[in-house]
Symmetry: none
Subunit: 226 residues, 2 copies
DNA sequence: CGCTTATTTGACTAATTCATTACAGTTGTA
DNA sequence: TACAACTGTAATGAATTAGTCAAATAAGCG
């Protein structure tokens, strides 16, 4: 079963969304404001996706989306009446997974939701790779029961690579995905962090050089051969 | 926030319930059959109460109620058109917490829900961690038979951390979960409370620094290694 | 109201992490 | 091999974040 959080200040839109989604097997939970939805998430409840209206009286969709992003990897689809490119870009940069403009058909809505769900399924909170444990919830990196002390940036970096085995990340990719889209950082900075990660993992006894490899001229990747 | 699961085969009744409950601050999740609701619970989702119609085509309310009872202590209020004493008794025996006959007023519905929630909240939470006793009921914190005098906020803070060992709480998390949603508090305020908690526990002889740890750049957690 | 206790704040210090730099080392290619 | 492009390294100052504490403010209570 798939649970979708609907966030819109207009009751009519909430009802319409539910009308479209329930027959398609989605469980809907409606919220008239983003803060309500956030509270729901903060309380540890789970959901599979959030449909979020941008135009809302108190806190707008952008802010809500950012807050959701900070606390979880819940996929977010933004809803809006406006279809300006600027908004789309802003939304996607902020971390929204997709963007639907009103009005929309039932087919479009459901199709987009399915697509986003397919994409987002892979993200994990806890990853174990050959004895190396990465846990987002506990914010620890362990190897063979010993804790590896890493900084926030290092932690994010390792997590990203582990979550996408064999994918090559350019320094630009890493910049956006680890540092955030507006960061302006030199290439050497990223190298430095990679170095530190390698150092710490190596010292813990993990054969990091087999896995965290440099792709010459491009960036870095975590190689998984098994 | 309180989440209520609505289970009824009639869409109209689901809508009516939602219409009554949402304005009273309840979050509603609607299910057209008991099995759907059960699946929702089986998947680990949380809720505070279930409103369950007795008369349903496939599996009736009694059966659903029994299954809910087996897997959790979620309070259940049964809904029915019949008002025969027999049913009431049967329902309460099976484990329902209350019983509402249709038709009902908004006031009655909300009042009963509140009453059941009040009752069900009480039977909660006593945690013992290495000699440290946290008792919600008595609202006391003890270590080796000596009472540790803590303020309400400090008490909530310790309770939250103890209830989720090893989980890292960002200051934003703590803000929402301890202070409540609309609180606007500075980071230093949270630190202050953490400091006070550490201070008091330390003075009582509890080795708090081993457990209540700072996760640099993220927040705080209660580390449990055992 | 006046007293007590709890909570919050802000200024300051301490600790840690981050970004940069310059240069040494490495790789790819002609 | 030579050279150009790229990556690795280590040290360091800047920036960010956390800890501390006293004082201000708010909240409870008789």
């Amino acid at each position: 079963m798939t649970t979708i959080l609907l966030v819109d200040d207009e009751l009519r839109m909430l009802d319409l969304l539910e009308l479209y989604l329930r027959p398609n097997g989605f469980t809907c939970i409606k919220f008239e404001s983003g803060t309500e939805a956030l509270r729901y998430l903060y309380e540890g409840n789970k959901a599979d996706l959030m449909l979020l209206d941008i135009m809302m009286p108190s806190e707008d969709g952008w802010e809500i989306c950012q807050k959701v992003r900070k606390m979880s990897n819940l996929p977010v689809i933004m809803l809006t009446a406006r279809s300006q490119t600027l908004d789309v870009v802003k939304g996607l940069n902020i971390g929204a997974d997709d963007y639907i403009t009103k009005p929309f058909s039932e087919e479009e809505l459901v199709a987009r939701i399915r697509a986003v769900l397919r994409r987002s399924l892979k993200e994990k909170h806890e990853i174990t790779y050959k004895g190396l444990v990465w846990s987002k919830e506990n914010h620890v990196l362990q190897y063979k029961n010993q804790q590896i002390q890493v900084t926030p940036k290092e932690f994010e970096l390792v997590g990203l690579l582990l979550q996408h085995l064999n994918r090559v990340f350019s320094r630009d990719d890493l910049l956006v995905l680890v540092w955030g889209y507006e960061a302006e950082i030199g290439d050497r900075t990223i190298d430095s962090h990679v170095r530190n990660v390698r150092d710490k993992l190596r010292k813990a006894g993990f054969p990091v050089d087999e896995y965290l490899q440099t792709v010459w001229g491009i960036g870095y990747k975590w190689v998984d051969v098994s």
